[in-house]
Symmetry: C2
Subunit: 395 residues, 2 copies
């Protein structure tokens, strides 16, 4: 049969990032390409104990259909995570989602009509771009510097695009750059959203993993008139496999999210929700996150030190204070795919920068992940990568 | 803030079925309204053993990000379920979804543009109607009789609606009617799909739960040119809380589903997938399904006997050979909501027929569920319901 797809389906059958991640999955390739947490830190024994307890004490409820908004026990746990971000709220403001990807998808579905504009950081999380595109959105990328999204460029973009419906931002340890938006820019960003009456979608998957600098309040904590929709997740602090995320917004909006979620998948896995709630009841999540933070910091330092030792001096990189990624710019290189190819020839994988941009790309850029590579292997990988960079730079 | 929603969001904040199910959830109400499996049959101990084994033997994989298409172990299990339906295939033809609701949502998103037509059985599964509406589809309802969708009416509908993109059907133990499409109609339906070059979305959540008559082959088993997309689920035979469903189609189409699923929620809960695969490896699912079938049959017989004993003779009901629902028509009643109200006054809940229809409703209809009410309570509930019916009929 000759399928006639809707306009939402990408024409191309090739998913460039899928191809990269597949290649990077080859066991002989050292991959700095993915975005996976370190699996050796998953609290497997504690999750097993939680699963046992949940199935012993409330097996039928954990295996039955449940509320589209999520179980109250988990929404209660989420309030504790929100308090760290300066958000004081109640469980009526929270819906549990099947991971942050679903939070993004439901938001796109709810707010974007064909031809609407979404403002994103340039570069930004590429799968969010795919989602918003599938709902017919145009993109306007706003330039960043080491302090996050540039607010002057944002106001310019808002002025020039009156049909902007959403500003999508990852203010802390941004994917792909690892950069963090300053406090001054955070307050200013929320003011601009109010002034131009557009919504901010604040995505904060990495915020808890900080080894340097002070924790900054979330955009949501400055939100007076419900212009900020906040998203969080357990993927980076507990387990991505469980697919547990959340959206925080005013209760009327959470009702709409709940209706849309019901259409999307009825509700999030009941067993996973009960297990997560029980894990939080029985364990100290802050200690666990401290362990993750220590390990990622160690790996990041090894990576940065190796970069400073081996990469040509002209090459620039971000200096993340937390999170999972850093961002590299190689001056004079026009085609970042060449960097990927040259690295892969040496069995090292990175993600070339192009797919992370909503509009025009910044050439010669790529993303590196340090959370998922054993300490002993990082330096050798960076050394090989430096040879690839030198080859492409024509050194 | 004054939210501006996309056209996909229902204008109304009231979800009529949500209201009914909420009311029906009141512990003092005897509910024939829901569609829940009997939780006392969930194999809690076996799932606990499976969770233990999975977390002991492959904890890190079960808690890590996974493939958007689903783990091969579970897709292998699904092949066994498909063989029962006469579908011989391989795991490249299968994607794991976050329950059937997601299978419907992805299908709507992939195939429906604004103004396209979806042909549905009248009445049909109401949440499917909501999903297709959210993608801008029009509905054409095709009349049913006790043998399922009427094929003459279907051909008429196909002729009159050349922009039909999808025929959505639940051929076996249909929701809400409990009716099963005959073998002759099944073959004819697939022929018509080929003749008019439209896709069939075959939804089969209840097929395994049969106590009478012979198992009928699925529409997919007659499909020569990829005109049938088949959907299945573990919700009714193992656990709905785990949110595990699947779509079966040709591998090129499964690739598109996989891309769309990646946008929707990255992948289905890894732990739930591993637990389900391990459950199937360690247990005899057919024995388990036989236990479910026995209990639902017992409850259905009690309900039918009580209906025949207490309901006015003019009232008609379907006689399901399996599944979870039966369908009641009360002649002379124009407003089925009145039946709901009169029943609720007596602390009994049913679902009035109106929301199940794509277009014009058949008045005086309602759906009854028998899978989730203890045997000892059914007769008393039906007796109260008979009083409600008599009141509305003016007897």
């Amino acid at each position: 049969m000759n399928y006639k797809f809707s306009d939402r389906v990408p024409q191309s059958d090739t998913d460039p990032v899928g191809v990269i991640l597949k290649v990077a999955g080859d066991p002989k390739v050292m991959s700095f390409a993915g975005g996976l947490p370190a699996p050796e830190l998953f609290p497997v024994e504690q999750i097993k104990a939680a699963a046992n307890k949940v199935l012993t004490e409330k097996g039928p409820a954990a295996l039955q259909y449940g509320s589209s908004q999520g179980i109250p026990e988990l929404r209660q746990v989420i309030l504790g995570r929100l308090a760290i971000e300066g958000i004081k709220t109640d469980i009526d403001h929270v819906i549990v989602t099947t991971g942050s990807q679903q939070s993004i998808d439901l938001t796109g579905k709810m707010f974007l009509n064909e031809g609407d504009t979404v403002i994103v950081e340039d570069p930004t999380y590429l799968t969010a771009v795919d989602v918003f595109k599938s709902y017919g959105a145009h993109f306007v990328g706003v330039a960043m510097d080491e302090d996050g999204m540039r607010i002057d460029a944002l106001e310019e973009a808002l002025k020039n695009n009156p049909n902007t419906r959403l500003i999508y931002t990852i203010p802390t340890f941004q994917n792909p750059t690892g950069r963090t938006m300053t406090l001054a820019r955070r307050t200013k960003l929320v003011e601009l959203a109010e002034k131009y009456d557009v919504l901010i979608l604040e995505d904060n998957p990495y915020g808890a993993i900080r080894w340097e600098g002070k924790n900054l309040p979330s955009l949501k904590s400055f939100d007076k008139n419900d212009h900020v929709i906040y998203m969080g997740t357990l993927s980076k602090i507990l387990s991505p496999g469980l697919r547990l995320g959340w959206v925080v917004a005013d209760p009327n909006l959470i009702k709409k999210y709940t209706m849309m979620k019901q259409s999307a998948d009825l509700h999030t896995d009941s067993l996973a929700q009960y297990i997560a709630a029980e894990y939080f009841a029985a364990n100290n999540i802050d200690e666990h996150v401290a362990g993750i933070t220590d390990l990622y910091h160690k790996r990041e330092q090894i990576m940065i030190n190796a970069i400073d030792k081996y990469f040509p001096k002209e090459v620039k990189h971000s200096n993340p204070e937390g999170g999972m990624f850093l961002w590299v710019s190689v001056p004079g290189v026009q085609d970042s795919q060449k960097l990927f190819d040259a690295a892969l020839k040496r069995n090292v994988a990175i993600v070339p920068g192009d797919p992370f941009f909503g509009n025009e790309t910044i050439p010669g850029t790529f993303r590196m992940n340090y959370s998922n590579t054993p300490e002993a292997k990082i330096e050798a990988g960076v050394k090989l990568l430096s040879e690839a960079i030198e080859e492409v730079m024509g050194k």
